[in-house]
Amino acid sequence: MLVLAVGSLPVRRLPFHREVSAMLIVQVIVNWLLLGSLYAAVALGFSLVWGIMNIVNLAHGAFILVGAYTAYWTFTQLHIDPFLGLPLTMLLLFCLGWVVQYVAINRVIRAPFLVTFLLTFGLDLLIADVVQLLFTSDRRSINTAYSGFGLTLGTLHIPFDRLLAALIAVLLTAALSLFLQRTRTGNAILATGMDRDAARLMGIRIDRIYALTFGLGAALAGAAGAMLVELYPFDPSQGGVFTLRAFVIVVLGGLGTPWGALAGGLVFGLAETVVPLLPGIGPGYDDAIAFALMVLVLIFRPRGILGKAFYA
């Protein structure tokens, strides 16, 4: 990702007339909303784990990877559509996340920040290597029967699979928000995020809440992976890219609410979809712009666009 700064040598442009019609603008806005929502799904689990447990989970990208390969495997071996297989993928990732938290991370949860950093980094390497061992480093991709279909209105085209992915992303965000606000378990998670010791005094089993939170985070990462593998080619080296993106999105959107991930995702998506269309700026700068936006947000709204003190 950070290659971008290197390659931004000015390119001689040809004087071609770019007709920016109204339809094109609508198409770009549609692209932006679809991609932004997908990015929200990428960051949702990361935001939850960071907000509640104060862990910057560097293995998040690895969970996305496992989700992607699970979806790939169920599609190629069991012929289950990635969208239909989403609950299965999420369940598997939930179990994986639960076990990882219960066995490994709970033991260092009170250790300094750097220890969890190191542990999740190690987990990231381990998981990515296991994935590579099982699936090799070859690039994989899913081609469903409906991948070329969509809604067409004149020149406006809304791809069916992207639309579905965006809808699921928004749905997951809303579901997580409702779960945290409305259910007893959700409230227990929030309480643990606000004050770990007070929550324990109220009779909350902290280790289980953490395992549940981490499991949820992994399940959401798995859902993102399953949707990504349908839209993009995938290989085991890509986990890190998505960890970094999740990080930027969460910083942009702010901790404290699942809707922060959606806001961050939309802002991040802006740089990849709208910016290439602006005259004078090419897509060569899209990541530079995304990071510049992050710096601006940090200056003017240090807690992010929708950030709050706690996950409340």
């Binding site: 290659v3 040598l9 094109l24 198409q27 991609l35 390497l125 690039r139 080619p233 910016v275 290439p276």
Partner: protein, 444 residues
Amino acid sequence: MIRLFSYLHLPRRHLAHTGHDSSFQSRSSATRLPLPIILLSLLLALLCSTGLLACGGTASSSNTLLFGAPISLTGSTATEGHLTLEGYQLWVKEVNAHGGIKVGNTTYQVALKYYDDGSSPTRSAQLTQQLITADKVNFLLGPYGTSATLQDEAIAERYKIPMVEANGAAKAIFSRGFHYIFGVLSPASEYAKVMLEAALSLPTPPRTVAIISANDSFSEEVATAARDFALSHGMEVVYYQTYPSGATDLTGVLTALKTSAHGGVPDMLLGSGHESEAVTTMKECKQLNINAKLYAFTVGPATPDFITSLGPDANYVLGSSQWTPQERYQGIDFFGTPANYERIYKQTFGHEPSYQSAESTAAGLAFQYAIQNAGSIDPQKVRDALARLNITTFYGVIRFDATGANTFKPMATIQIQNGQVVTVYPKEVANAQLLYPTPPLSQR
């Protein structure tokens, strides 16, 4: 992977000692080593480094020539890296099977020492240094990709160890005045040219072309050459755009491209980048309902992954290739012809060779004949012999110009037809007709 294995294979008692249940106090005392052990290990390290004890690395016996290469076996160019490695390995296997390299009265066996650079050019440079200083390799074979080659050639130059590289085609590699770098592949400017020539050879050639390119130095060089060639041959370049190398989403670029040809889709889409971006472009063209009459990618279609990950959507796509098994060269080497190389390669690895494999094997051949011609394994003499080399192999002509680039070998255009790679241009080596125009992606 190595990391993983050592983790899994660590004896259980070790795991128990380093387990998380030990308290902080006991852990700190357990990690403190007694002074004698530290002193002893320092002594051992000293002995190793002065060569009194032969430990670590591949001990190169007097009759073995050691070739070193950092290769991207993981990371973004892992696929291409593995193909590169297989190309090197095949050469090593065959040269040893044919009795090794004869230098004067001595016959040398050949060995390969390689490391995974994780697709990182910086890491690649560190490993090149390590290969030279720690592993004491005799000669260097190149890494995968222009960016890594640019880093590594500087190290080779500093230590005056000749490097024959097979996977970096940018002009930048050969324009730094270095004397120890040689590349067996055709230069970057040829990649797009051969595909545009193929398109122009059609009865009703595409008139408008959109060029999109990754922003690394190799891809940009290819794209610039493509634009100049298209403009000078009467094609209209309606869209020219670069995007960040390694981009995962190209909808922004493709949306702009969709209406760039006077409000419509350009006749031809030419992508200059890497395999992952080529696959992404095809997937997103389908998602966004963009139907050009011809799709062409400089890197990607020639690798087996391209077909497996795109399925039927890979059909009709053009690619440029440094080498195809259909070409008709009569080489002086033990492979002889492209067809024979393909046969031996398939026997050894169980799959078709790609051009990355062939050019990597060719790099080995270049060394082999240069060493024989030099009659010496002295790096300086071998370098001079490389500069004078002029041979025809199964891969084509290997001959270097003053900068070290092989400007004497033509490229070929391939097309994917029914999931198979066929050669469609130049006509003399083609084994199939160029299929044109491409049917809409949604009707596959």
